[in-house]
Symmetry: C2
Subunit: 482 residues, 2 copies
Amino acid sequence: MSNRNLTLLTDLYQLTMMQGYFENDVNNHEVVFDLFYRKNPSGNGYAICCGLEQAIDYIKNLHFADEDIQYLESLNIFSKDFLEYLSDFKFTGDIDAIPEGTVVLPGEPLMRVKAPIFEAQFIETTLLNIINHQSLIATKASRVVRAAEGDTVLEFGLRRAQGPDAGLYGARAAIIGGCHATSNVLTGQMFDVPVAGTHAHSWVMSFESELEAFRAYAKLFPHKCILLVDTYDTLGQGVPNAIKVFDEMKAAGIESKSYGIRLDSGDLAYLSKCARKMLDDAGYKDAVISASCDLDEYLIADLKRQGAAITLWGVGTKLITSDDCPSFGGIYKLAAERENQEMFKPKIKISENPEKITNPGIKKVIRIYDNATQKVKVDLIALEEEEFDLTQDITVRDPKARWRKMHLKAGEYTMRELLVPIFREGECVYESPKTMDIRAYAKQELEKLWDEQKRLINPAHIPVDLSDDLYYLKERMLDAYK
Amino acid sequence: MSNRNLTLLTDLYQLTMMQGYFENDVNNHEVVFDLFYRKNPSGNGYAICCGLEQAIDYIKNLHFADEDIQYLESLNIFSKDFLEYLSDFKFTGDIDAIPEGTVVLPGEPLMRVKAPIFEAQFIETTLLNIINHQSLIATKASRVVRAAEGDTVLEFGLRRAQGPDAGLYGARAAIIGGCHATSNVLTGQMFDVPVAGTHAHSWVMSFESELEAFRAYAKLFPHKCILLVDTYDTLGQGVPNAIKVFDEMKAAGIESKSYGIRLDSGDLAYLSKCARKMLDDAGYKDAVISASCDLDEYLIADLKRQGAAITLWGVGTKLITSDDCPSFGGIYKLAAERENQEMFKPKIKISENPEKITNPGIKKVIRIYDNATQKVKVDLIALEEEEFDLTQDITVRDPKARWRKMHLKAGEYTMRELLVPIFREGECVYESPKTMDIRAYAKQELEKLWDEQKRLINPAHIPVDLSDDLYYLKERMLDAYK
């Protein structure tokens, strides 16, 4: 999968523009593009950036195969010279990116591409596709896991995912966002993450009786025996049959390490509390009650508030599609350009809509931590060449209301640059961590936020400010245009 | 792409159940599963089924490679015998399906799989993944195209799609649902569908001035010259610069076949009406005004109601993700089973929730047309062995309210069976039509519905009834269980 050639997975206009750069002999003008987003999905207070490993694979595999060139020729819109030039295409630029699993905020470049415009323009669509998708699902998973308050959360959504990749990479992102395992076997194989699952209604229906189906399953998987109890009648038949099978296992001397039931329909609060009592009364206080059925962070939080006796949550459709917000609005905007080896000139995109105006220039992202609490204090977007001196007090201002200032005293704060080198002159200089390590890192990242900033609904704002230099550069450029 | 091995793209529980069937020596019990859905997405009156070609590719490529078996072995939950058996796995059963592009309705088997339980169970997840995704997007596209009332609709969503496949196959489904072209070059290459696109804001920003950027583009693509006019100031600068370039083209004797402007921000109704007047006054009455920017069927319909002067719509995020309903609830349920060569026994899944009770037995779907109008009268789900005699009057009853009857007089109606053979004993016996032919067929399909049934909001209901034989079989089985 990782060497799949996705070169033509792009918007046609990238290619028409590239022909334009080529014909105008500006294809080697060097540019800087920022990949960033404007709004956290699902009303969350942050996003978890994700997808870098697949973005790297994409860049590494970029090339126009002969059949690609032939196809483009068949469209009758490209010149022979241009197509010949394309056949030698490879990425030769620099990319910096924020590592996967990092907490990120609106306006911050998650990725910064410095390359000839011919190359930097071309990779826009697919970079956005990959980063938008996985950041969306990782962020949604982070919300679901938070709602579950320490309970186990399993990703079960493959059958409702938007195509094979949405299932495959969505499950990867869900794990990075905090899910404990996925039902998706291919994701397990490709990314070495835990896989989980038991049986479906069809298993029960394929036997003469539910009891026989449960017995057969318990015989086969005594040490991971979660029985689905709602095929016919949850409390009247399913749970009693499960208890009968647990009794038989006990009588046979089998001490299961992990056993219990799964509810997949009905009122999960009511059924789980009744089932808990039935299991406890029968002596199975350590039997797990798991649940699935249209779950999301809101329903899990509400079920928990009502005392549902569920400790293992299988979350499908609404996680794998990010149901309430199925897209992550990542965009890719020109920030600077130069001819030959001149200085880079900052570029700005104006809009009637102030929040759509871009930040010009080559930028870096600095996260400032409070030393006393180890929590994030503020993120600062600054120009690449700016240097900050930790031995000095600094003042950071809200770019939308400059009178809102934050004073940071020397010795009371620490800084960290979020962007790290990924490609240098076309060579990958970064090794992606293992998926489970990214998951552990993302968990640490969330510990650096206050609970108020992680609230599911209307969370406290984490400030993202602009350095004075960047702020005034932007003001000057806006003034000159308007 | 079409020979990509997606065998492990499945839920782990399919494999644990398969081991169960294998160990219990029931793996060769023959079963029938129905793939169907319960509710049309986005409140639509119908769905457009889609994805069969990729489902066929999936089945054809099914096999466990050595590394797949090794991976499964590493999980320590599968027996050696079972894994050896798996390594010879292939699909040997029969599949019937409703052809892609057909109008389908809730409860109808879109696909019917008859195979040893070992095989039929295994393919559940991926069949659902593929059919759910593409049917969702084809249905959404059908709504968007309907809102555009004959205007051209382009699919532009790749950058916001949920991963590469969601972009690739989503664009295919969007074309089948009625879009005229896609920006997605790989979809164009793989499925021989029209591709479209012009240039981005970055093209304009990369030149010293907007006017230079427009001139360069017009020089390059004089016969497909749609200029994006909102980079700096749509009416103050963008449209006047576009008109200047059209004047220059005219002066140079270039008669463009297709030229105009694209709006990508601001109030599209207001801006398009102003731009139309400016273009008309300058003598460019045939200049196209196209628009993009968070469009969906509701906004397009509303913009048209307000007289927006737009005739070409580029629809991205909200189409490719089916924003208001990002999943299609297809499910896969056991309908019948037999041991050896006995008669098939019907199977039913009960639920406290009446609409979640399945239809038992091996079924077919019959669409009944009214001869006078050529419109669909009613769909009938019947048992496979039932025969209907067109020379007789028939009465069809609503299964939820049996007193609601429809009398059909001999000679006034025609019947069509929707399910067609796709696989027989593991061999594919069906050739998928070309994507553009499926699109043409889907368009014909929609002509068989009344406008009232195609309304975007609260459409008239198209009835799906059960044959008397099926109705009474279901009643008897429910009675026996409860």
